[in-house]
Symmetry: C2
């Protein structure tokens, strides 16, 4: 079985992405990051659920993007709760996907894997520059110049983005079909002290809208259910 | 003054690179990495010398590439001491420059800087895929797609590689002209317990050859002076 490195946060998108990698015949190696994000609940979930979802191994890489700042997810900027806007959101973390993909590339090289999965989505996160198809294509080009395998001609890296053109509803339907238990996926930018999802941040709103459109009941518990 | 992020290890090349960035009119922001490299002496030097060399700020980013492995610099593979070969050396660290440049890009974005300096060299390190001009060009393309500024059109990132086509002797002459004190630059892959440079690893051999060719006395103390 061919190996694939899957960027995996324990959230809805990356959990679905892991299930898709497996369904496409890869042995998934899940990679998560503790980067100083506000709440680390997602990492606990990621650790517990990665193996259950069929990951062969799970690696947690630890660094602190709070030193760099510039995002509501890693600094003192407030997480917005008044709806999804059209500008680049303050929850955008400078260079985050580039950093994540770089570590994935390093692990892939050591594993002799040429396949990296990342659950970026260009519809819901159109404001994030590093979720766009042209960005992913540029990283793939880079990967094929950056590595030993590139020089030695032993393989071609491919960055898989199976969710990039799917709506949240389509992602959820796809995951349900593959047996993903969405009760175990965590995703809220600003959970309550009781670990309930806030129901009002961008991530909660997009998720609730997705479940509503998919006609699937969201098993997660919310403090408030946004605009529902 | 325009800001530039300078990748800075405290070694000969990156110290010269920092001096060049300053001489080219930039206010340097030095960035170093504790990535689980065998010896951390270079980080101590980096911390002490960055400000002295005119850096406005110095950021140390901490993560552990030993988890990923695959290199003599981060795992139990022996550092070779029998001369510089033509293959990709075992001291190559998978995706290291991609990871370094990704963090530099994140910091640059927060600083509103569009200039990143990296002291890669395509002559002495021709075996490293991520020291080649085509790799650097691909990262520059990526940077201009990865960031807010790319989407908003407020600036163009440039990856500066002032050493890329210089011989070690030329780098040393350039640094001496800019006032670099090479007695403070550390670089050996495998120093002795007394913190003497080994004189036999690739890095020591290339440095000693460079100083000999430049006709400059190397102020660093060696255990053995390679093939001299």
């Amino acid at each position: 079985m061919k190996k694939a490195v899957v960027l995996y946060s324990g959230g809805l998108d990356s959990t679905t992405c892991l299930a898709i990698a497996r369904s496409e015949g890869f042995e998934p190696y899940a990679m998560s990051f503790a980067y100083g994000q506000r709440h680390q609940a997602e990492l606990k979930v990621a650790r517990e659920y990665a193996r259950e979802m069929g990951a062969q191994d799970h690696m947690l890489v630890d660094f602190d993007l709070r030193k760099i700042g510039g995002s509501a997810l890693t600094s003192a900027i407030d997480v917005p709760k008044d709806g999804v806007g059209s500008d680049i959101p303050v929850t955008y973390v400078p260079a985050r996907n580039t950093i994540f993909l770089s570590f994935a590339l390093g692990w892939a090289e050591v594993l002799r894997s040429f396949d990296i999965y990342i659950g970026v989505n260009a519809l819901d996160y159109s404001g994030y520059p590093d979720c766009r198809p042209e960005y992913i294509a540029a990283f793939e080009t880079l990967a094929n110049l950056a590595t030993k395998a590139a020089v030695e001609g032993t393989g071609q890296y491919r960055i898989h983005t199976p969710l990039i053109h799917l709506t949240k509803a389509e992602i959820i339907r796809r995951g349900v079909a593959l047996g993903v238990d969405y009760g175990k996926t965590h995703f809220c930018y600003d959970p309550t002290p009781e670990a309930l999802a806030c129901g009002r941040c961008d991530s909660c709103r997009l998720r609730l809208k997705g479940f509503a459109e998919a006609g699937v009941k969201d098993p997660v518990r919310y403090a408030v259910r946004g605009e529902e």
